[in-house]
């Protein structure tokens, strides 16, 4: 009896100890995630997947590499969130006071990293520079007729017509100090209001940033942030493996097995705004005929090609811009793989024995040669002979701009996160980028640009992409994910679709 009771007591005690031990253990585990490194060791190195031609945002406003760095140094009136919706940054609020005038209320108490307070004069100075430089953003900014600083915290933009796309564009207009608007040297290494400050820049080697200790918002957790400009794929992986780099901007699919085999690395695919297109020269016979263009599209088994070459890192597109951007809705009746149908359509268009064409590609785009080989093989199967012309970037650009091609393949990004940026900029008649013109489409684009009602805009873009799927001016081939590889010691890293990572929240643990 006693022994039985003792036995039970013993068992109960053992269970209690075990429960305490287990809860204690799990509690301890939850309470102490990997320990944060001391401040003097918060030094992170990132290898971006884009080149950095210059740090002057006004000269190269659309360069991905420049934006990736400068979005941590300079800020804009608005910034795009994960769904590409404009959110307050240096402006706290905005409203359309008339259909063509947009008024911003600026954030108060903001200072540049040198201590100088931020005012509307700085916004005016920066706009002066972005508009005067007539760089790649000039077409998008041409709708602005005037802008004024009404008082130190109010800034107003007047446009020539109503527009619903301006805010996305303004997320690329970075604000520097107004007094330096014509100073190229200053803008080459500018002082901003962002969480980091540039300390050194060696072209084609690295850009080093340090924490802005006077930042108006929550201060960055990293002490220094280095953008190491490594281009060779193997060198990037090696840098990650030996701890020289903490984060790689993009890992190509064929390197996945290598990276996944590294125990201390996580690989995160994130939705991006980058996509790859193939354009037909719509002004050059026989590609002037939409039947021929559709046939060439139908000859390609894009889902299989994309799956084999890019696996889960890319997906075929169902519209003419990446689905992560606003307004890029699924087009109805997009051509799909049908080699027999392609042959029949070619015969109908008057080419029963096939045709010959060339395709231009840029050797600096890694993997394009493989993609083009796959296309050439599939076109050959329906009797179309295509000769690839691989060219270095300079020659490529000259031939591309001169329309000296039958077909061309290239990557592109919808970096304002809005369909207008890609569709209206590339496919309207005036742009004449690929000899394509459809006045009906132009009318839809203009209407969609001027509307500020999202549902109306979506409906207009739906009509537009449906027309484009019939006309087939080009083939939207696939949209890619950015595959960021990071050491497990890197915490709170989040990758927005623009790929402009906000490094201020990131920190390192042991």
């Amino acid at each position: 009896m006693t022994s039985t009771r003792k036995c039970w007591e013993g068992l109960a005690a053992a269970v209690a100890v075990a429960v305490i031990a287990l809860t204690g253990l799990s509690g301890a585990e939850a309470a102490s995630p990997a320990e944060r490194l001391p401040d003097n060791q918060q030094n992170l190195t990132f290898v971006p997947n884009f080149g950095v031609p210059s740090l002057d945002s006004a000269m190269v406003p659309l360069e991905m590499g420049t934006n990736q760095i400068m979005s941590n140094v300079l800020q804009a009136l608005v910034t795009l969130d994960k769904k590409s919706i404009p959110q307050p940054q240096l402006a706290t609020s905005w409203k359309w006071t008339t259909p063509t005038s947009l008024q911003f209320k600026l954030r108060e108490g903001v200072t540049f990293s040198d201590g100088q307070p931020f005012t509307s004069a700085d916004v005016v100075g920066s706009f002066d520079r972005f508009i005067a430089k007539k760089a790649t953003l000039s077409a998008a900014l041409s709708i602005i007729t005037s802008y004024t600083a009404d008082d130190p915290t109010t800034f107003t933009i007047n446009t020539s017509a109503p527009t619903g796309t301006l805010l996305g564009v303004l997320s690329l207009v970075k604000i520097g100090q107004g007094t330096h608007s014509t100073d190229d040297v200053w803008w080459g290494k500018p002082i901003g209001t962002g969480p980091f400050v540039i300390t050194s820049y060696v072209a084609n080697d690295h850009v080093k940033l340090t924490r802005n200790d006077t930042y108006w918002g929550e201060k960055a957790k990293l002490k220094t942030l280095t953008f190491s400009l490594i281009t060779d794929t193997n060198a990037k992986i090696t840098a990650l493996a030996n701890g020289q780099a903490h984060v790689l901007g993009d890992v190509i699919y064929d390197q996945f097995p290598t990276v996944k085999a590294m125990e201390n690395v996580t690989l995160t695919p994130a939705d991006a705004l980058t996509y790859y297109f193939l354009w037909f020269n719509n002004a050059k016979s026989p590609l002037t005929d939409p039947k021929v263009r559709r046939a060439m599209w139908m000859a390609l088994d894009l889902p299989t090609i994309v799956q084999s070459l890019y696996g889960e890192t890319a997906s075929p597109m169902d519209s003419f811009c990446p689905s992560s951007a606003f307004g890029c809705v699924t087009a109805a009746d997009m051509p799909s793989y049908d080699p027999k149908g392609a042959k029949a359509l070619l015969a109908e268009a008057g080419y029963p024995n096939g045709l010959t064409a060339d395709i231009l590609l840029n050797t600096s785009n890694a993997g394009m040669d493989t993609l083009v080989s796959a296309f050439v093989s599939q076109w050959k199967a329906v009797g179309i002979t295509v000769k690839p012309r691989a060219q270095d970037p300079t020659t490529w650009l000259a031939d591309f701009s001169a329309h000296n091609w039958d077909m061309v393949v290239n990557p592109n990004a919808t970096i304002t996160g809005d369909a207008d940026y890609t569709l209206n900029r590339l496919y309207n008649c005036a742009a004449n980028r690929l000899g394509y013109c459809n006045p009906k489409l132009d009318a839809l684009f203009t209407k969609a640009q001027q509307s500020s009602d999202p549902s109306e805009r979506t409906a207009l873009y739906q009509q537009a992409v449906n027309i484009m799927a019939q006309d087939a001016p080009g083939i939207p081939m696939f949209q890619t994910k950015s595959n960021v590889a990071a050491l497990k010691s890197v915490q709170d890293l989040s990758i927005p679709p623009t790929e402009f990572i906000d490094w201020s929240t990131v920190y390192l643990t042991k």
Partner: protein
């Protein structure tokens, strides 16, 4: 007496042994180059190799994989699913064509200039040899990269570029050979009999230069093949759509961890090809120009 006999019996056997090793050193590389040459002509035809053909479903397969058409990819497949063996042989074909054409052009141009410089001497000799000095002082692969960047990609341009960077060697060697031959009795005799310059240069001096020319050609062959591969590796040699060992090795470097065979096997083939021509050149030199023999 016995000592004399020993000398008489040992000397011929030593000479025989030497001849035998020289023959083996000529024969083995010749067989290797011959096999590669035949392979380069036959294999791409047998495999119906098309450099632009892609079969993505069988890309990056290891050596020995059975292909959907029933064949075996003995060296595996590359990044677009091409049979690596056929691709390598097509690349070897390009290497051999570039090597042979370059040596032909560089040999003819360099040979003629060397003959003229050596025979006439004077300002022509000084001018040509100073140009040669300047060019020799400049690293030849850098010169080739510079020229090919100006001329653009393409096999013909690679041949032109490598010929430009190789004529100097021929010119220098032939010139020194001519300087030696010029004072020999049979050349003096021809001159005394009133033979024209043309006759002296091409009928009396040239035949004496053939052996050293062959020796240099075989030594330089390996260098030219390697230079073409280097240019293609750097992306300035064979254009997209033209197979080349250099570009195959270059694309394979991306896959060293996951598909080692794409770089490694063509790399070994290039090694064998260059080594074979090097050994052959060495042996030919020993055979035809024993004065140059080392050790």
């Amino acid at each position: 007496m016995s000592a004399d006999q020993a000398v008489i019996t040992i000397a011929p056997s030593h000479a025989r042994r030497l001849r035998a090793t020289v023959s083996a050193r000529i024969l083995v590389p010749l067989v290797v180059i011959g096999i590669l040459g035949i392979g380069a002509i036959v294999v791409p035809v047998l495999y119906n190799y098309d450099p632009l053909h892609a079969d993505l479903l069988v890309r990056l397969k290891p050596p020995g994989t059975a292909m959907p058409d029933g064949s075996i990819a003995i060296f595996g497949t590359d990044k677009v699913g091409s049979d690596l063996f056929a691709e390598m042989m097509a690349g070897t074909r390009v290497s051999l064509i570039v090597g042979a054409s370059t040596l032909l052009i560089a040999g003819i141009v360099g040979g003629i200039l060397g003959l003229l410089a050596g025979y006439f001497g004077g300002w022509l000799d000084t001018a040509l040899m100073r140009i040669a000095d300047i060019q020799l002082a400049f690293p030849s692969i850098l010169l080739a990269i510079l020229l090919v960047s100006v001329l653009g990609q393409g096999i013909l341009n690679v041949i032109i570029v490598l010929s430009i960077s190789n004529w100097v060697i021929f010119a220098r060697v032939i010139r020194s050979q001519v300087l030696g031959l010029k004072s020999l009795e049979y050349v003096e005799a021809a001159r005394t009999l009133g033979a024209s310059h043309f006759h002296i240069i091409f009928r009396t001096l040239l035949p004496g230069c053939i052996a050293p020319m062959l020796v240099i050609a075989s030594v330089e062959f390996g260098y030219v093949v390697l230079a073409e591969a280097a240019l293609s590796f750097l992306g300035v040699g064979a254009p997209f759509g033209t197979p080349s060992l250099g570009s195959t090795i270059s694309t394979g470097t991306q896959y060293l961890a996951s598909a080692w065979w794409i770089s490694t096997i063509p790399g070994l083939l290039l090694l064998v090809l260059v080594l074979a021509t090097g050994v052959l050149g060495d042996a030919l030199r020993d055979r035809f120009d024993p004065r140059l023999r080392s050790a």
